[in-house]
């Protein structure tokens, strides 16, 4: 109550200031007069009486001042006064204000942009009910399809049978859902129109119940949908409904043709829901696991391919549940020995389930981008520090110019803390204004970063618009920034000696402010060189990555990704489709070579499988080699060289000799001392080791990992299988080697494909170069941002050096005049000014380069083909910085040489 009354009373005196002040005057006057009357009654004259009262009780003005300043509203009032004063000061020096605001907007904006991403990727929970009750069974992001025990013993991927067992025997979970770790391509047709590609995720029917998501319209999946005999249904993402179906309400309940099967759209998820994993291109549709087109997975208890997330009932701690799950897991594995390969049986007792909090879902982006984001946080913080140093410097220079004003105010009795407070108010005001402008920079920056980071994606469910936490962060950061860059100049100014004002000062050359200014420039140079070197390292690393020898040629190549399985092709029709595709694509004008394959290099896909070499014992030391299915002319089409033997040709068809082509690493690993050509290999088990004859060796090429060496790989013809087996690995990519720009061929390719089969879903077309470039999104993002930050730091450091030098010249005009009058020539004067600037530059470099070397060691894990110290990069960075700095210092230095001694001496 009393707090409320206090606030009310304070507000009254703030808003009815005159009235309240008038009341107080009346009261105090009354006090004075009553006291005086008393004294006059005792015989004093009126004048003496008033004088006596003032002596006894203090002056009324002082009393009023004391009473007013004791209340909290007076603090508000002085703040308000300081703010108005600050605004006036800022308006009076528009150039300073503009430079400071721009610097701050960039500095705070960059940090806010990075925070927006960190908030979205690392801090924000899934938009679901009570996300903290969600736990994931497993602690890493292993993918995708596995058999047997799992790496390190931590179970992450589960077979459907194991999922059902855990779901039905762990009552601590209110719900336990299973879903595929990836999203799948869907081919969707609406009312007989052409097939369009969408993304889908196959989930258990209790998925939405587990996550606690309610339908925005219609209904979501429900347990009966798990049955294979249930009518086909799908749930649509709100974003998809909005973007692709124009929020048309008639879509809900209607039937779409998904992967060749009619499917009712049961409902739409709420806006903002993107599924269990924050990722680019989230699912457009969620479908029941029972409708997964890869039908062999669900009934096979050996195939581990599902992620599990459960909602713990309230009151249950994760640790005991985790222990119970581990027991259940080991019991299940022990009682299902037939699904575990022999070599893994001994590992069963070491398998365990670790429950990880899943409030943020499956943290894929976080895992992928964590190091990159940390690096960006460091860099943007560094940039902001440089910006702070720069503005502190400008404020110091301005403060020295206003030094005499400060001194006068101090001499007149202003308390130092009031001066500091007033100057800090001005800095914080500046910072808040800069922060407000920074919000726009942050918005634009976040969008740019998202575009860079997810190049090739059509939608990223991260909102670049500042949310409340981001806004709060930005305001806090602005406040802190204002204090950081304001405190030094404010302190220095408040320390000015009142006597200076009276002496007409400004002559001394070694005052505190100029030492501070120089140290700030040194710090700026040090930070800038560190940023420039970092930019050099990551840029060189990116160039090495992109320019490396991949084992194929990207120039003039177009990749068309298709999905025949989605439009209902069956095995018997594949041969015809492949032949027609090979023929027609080859005939498109401008196509030099056309070929087909299961998947193309660096397109995100990779398959691996154990091989058995005829006449050799199985060797489990190595990870399973990769394999791909390729058509005739494939290696020619992507520009991979044949080293020995022959490639896969037209004659390598079903019924002919089953052949395989291997790469160099495969040859080295499995045939270290013999000729691989003519040897035999096979998959599945030892009895198949004679299935394929090796007929050729091609050069190594990178298909998945861009940094490590190429995987050992073998290539099989598109349709050859051991007798009685059906083909695994259907064609998913068409490779076209074309004359001219690959993009120009897209319409012709699309038309040809439509001629072959209008229902054949074309997932996307992308030039080979662009497909490869998508692999370096994170590296490119970091390189571009570091370059940008480095360039900004360079500019800021040069502005700082220019400012300090120019200010020094202005202050020493008098001294320079005397020197020239005494015979110093222009060269002497130039040297005098430049020497000071170069000293700061040298000190900055001396401090920044070792710091950059230390930082480089942290960076080295991110670098490719660059050492943490590269003398060339350090040399170039230092040279660029030195050149810019000398230029910045030269301008005021030349002005110094033009000082006319007569004018200089007359000055003052």
């Amino acid at each position: 109550m009393s707090l409320l009354r206090n606030i009310a009373s304070g507000l009254r005196s703030l808003f009815r200031k005159e009235r309240v002040s008038h009341d107080l005057d009346d009261e105090l006057n009354g006090f004075l007069e009553m006291a005086a009357e008393e004294k006059m009654k005792r015989g004093m004259s009126r004048r003496d009486a008033f004088r006596a009262v003032r002596l006894e009780r203090g002056s009324l003005e002082v009393a009023k001042e004391i009473v007013c300043s004791a209340a909290w509203e007076s603090f508000v009032e002085t703040c308000w006064a300081d703010i108005r004063f600050g605004l006036r000061t800022l308006r009076k020096s528009p150039a300073f204000t503009a430079v400071a605001l721009l610097t701050l907007a960039l500095g705070i904006g960059a940090n806010t942009a990075i925070f927006t991403l960190i908030h979205a990727v690392m801090l924000k929970s899934l938009p679901v009910a009570s996300p903290t009750q969600l736990y994931r069974l497993g602690d890493n992001n292993s993918c995708c399809v596995m058999v047997g025990t799992q790496e390190g013993g931590s179970f992450v991927l589960y077979s459907y049978a194991l999922y059902e067992n855990l779901r039905d025997h762990t009552p601590e979970f209110g719900e336990l859902a299973a879903f595929e770790p990836w999203t799948s391509d869907l081919s969707v047709r609406r009312n007989g129109s052409a097939a369009e590609p969408y993304r889908g995720e196959f989930v258990s029917a209790n998925y939405f119940n587990t996550l606690g998501v309610r339908a925005f319209a219609g209904r979501l999946l429900a347990p009966p949908d798990d049955s294979a005999s249930a009518p086909r249904v799908a749930v649509m993402n709100y974003h998809t409904w909005q973007q692709r179906f124009g929020l048309d309400p008639s879509v809900i309940g209607s039937t779409l043709n998904i992967n060749g099967v009619p499917c009712a759209i049961a409902g739409v998820t709420p806006p903002g829901f993107y599924g269990d994993t924050l990722r680019s291109d989230p699912p457009d549709f969620w479908l029941p696991l029972a409708t997964d087109p890869e039908k062999w997975r669900l009934p096979n208890a050996a195939v581990e391919w599902l992620y599990l997330v459960g909602r713990l009932k309230s009151g249950f701690a994760p640790e005991p549940v985790q222990a119970r799950l581990t027991v259940e897991l080991q019991e299940w594995l022990s009682s299902h020995r037939e699904v575990i390969p022999d070599r893994d049986l001994k590992d069963i007792p070491r398998q365990y389930i670790h429950l990880t909090p899943a409030a943020r879902g499956v943290e894929k982006l976080r895992t992928d981008y964590e190091t990159g984001l940390h690096l960006l946080v460091t860099l943007s913080a560094l940039l902001l520090l440089i910006a702070c140093a720069n503005i502190a410097n400008l404020l110091l220079a301005r403060g020295s110019a206003n030094g005499s004003q400060m001194a006068v105010r101090l001499a007149l009795g202003a308390p130092r803390h009031r001066l500091i407070r007033q100057m800090l108010t001005e800095s914080v005001l500046l910072a808040l204004m800069g922060g407000a402008a920074g919000l726009y920079v942050a918005y634009a920056g976040t969008r740019t970063i998202l575009l860079l980071a997810f190049r090739g994606a059509s939608y990223v469910p991260i909102d670049a618009r500042p949310s409340l936490p981001v806004l709060g962060f930005s305001i806090l950061l602005s406040l802190m920034t204002g204090i950081v860059f304001g405190i030094l100049p404010a302190w220095t100014a408040s320390q000015s000696d009142p006597l200076d004002a009276l002496r007409g000062a400004g002559r001394s050359t070694g005052d505190r402010a100029s030492v501070l200014q120089k140290s700030l420039v040194v710090a700026q140079v040090a930070f800038s060189i560190a940023l420039l070197i970092a930019a050099g390292l990551v840029t060189q690393s990116l160039r090495n990555l992109e320019g490396q020898h991949f084992g194929f040629v990207t120039d003039g190549r177009l990749i068309v990704n298709i999905a025949p399985s989605l439009s209902g092709y069956t095995l018997d029709k594949l041969d015809g489709l492949y032949q027609r595709l090979e023929e027609t694509m080859q005939q498109i004008p401008g196509v030099l070579t056309a070929s087909l394959s299961w998947y193309s290099p660096l397109g995100g896909n990779n398959a691996s499988e154990r091989v058995y070499i005829q006449g050799k014992a199985p060797d489990y030391r190595w990870t399973a080699p990769s394999w791909d299915r390729v058509g005739p002319h494939y290696f020619e089409a992507i520009g991979t060289r044949l080293l020995r033997g022959r490639v896969i040709e037209e004659r390598d068809r079903p019924g002919g000799l089953n052949v395989a082509v291997i790469n160099e690493t495969f040859a080295r690993r499995f045939f270290p001392n013999e000729d691989p050509i003519g040897q035999h290999l096979g998959m599945t088990d030892v009895s198949h080791s004679g299935d394929y004859e090796i007929v050729g060796i091609v050069e190594d090429a990178k298909y998945k990992d861009t940094r490590g060496p190429a995987y050992a790989t073998f290539f099989l013809p598109l349709l050859q299988t051991p007798p009685g087996e059906s083909v695994r690995g259907w064609v998913g990519a068409i490779e076209l080697h074309v004359a001219g720009k690959p993009e120009n061929l897209e319409p012709a390719a699309r038309k040809t494909l439509a001629d072959v089969d209008p229902n054949l879903p074309v997932l996307n077309m992308v030039s080979f170069g662009e497909q490869v470039a998508h692999n370096f999104n994170q590296e490119r993002l970091i390189a571009r941002l570091t370059e940008l930050f480095g360039a900004l730091a360079l500019i800021l450091a040069c502005v700082g050096l220019y400012g300090v030098t120019a200010y020094g010249v202005a202050r020493r005009t008098n001294e320079i005049g005397i020197r020239m009058a005494l015979g110093a020539d222009r060269r002497n004067v130039l040297g005098l000014v430049l020497r000071a600037a170069l000293t700061q530059l040298g000190m900055g470099l001396a401090m920044g380069i070792p710091a950059a070397l230390a930082g480089g060691r942290v960076l080295v894990s991110q670098l490719y083909g660059v050492k943490s110290y590269d003398p060339m990069i350090i040399g170039v960075a230092a040279a660029v910085l030195a050149a810019c700095a000398v230029l910045a210092a030269l301008v005021p230095a030349r002005r110094a040489t033009r000082v006319d001694p007569i004018v200089a001496l007359h000055y003052e």
């Binding site: 109550m1 107080l24 009346d26 009553m34």
Partner: protein
């Protein structure tokens, strides 16, 4: 101490003002005079501290002010103790008594 009015023990001015007003409603000057009389000239608060204390008490809701005309037809702001103020005075008086007794015991110990 004879020549110069003594400084009040920190925080006691509020309590003394409450005590003064417990006797009868009073304006600022009246409070000052009464304090001086009752302390036989030992306490003579200056206007600044007096009115600061009055403002504080008013904001805490312990006293209420009202403009009235005084005995010699002058408009003055009279202050009245509120119920809350009366309670506070009682509790503070008790606490003061306890402390003074305790201090006295310490000082008299030999």
């Amino acid at each position: 101490m004879a020549d110069k009015p003594s400084d009040l023990v920190q925080g006691t001015l509020d309590m003394l003002i409450l005590k003064t007003l417990a006797l009868e409603p009073m304006h600022g000057y009246g409070i000052a005079v009464r304090l001086e009389q009752m302390s036989q000239g030992v306490f003579r608060p200056n206007a600044g501290s007096l009115f600061m204390a009055i403002q504080r008490l008013q904001r805490d809701g312990l006293i209420k002010g009202e403009w009235k005309s005084s005995e010699n037809n002058r408009r003055a702001k009279y202050y009245v103790l509120t119920d809350q103020g009366r309670k506070r005075l009682n509790s503070e008086t008790r606490e003061w008594g306890r402390q003074v007794a305790a201090i006295a015991r310490i000082l008299e110990a030999s």
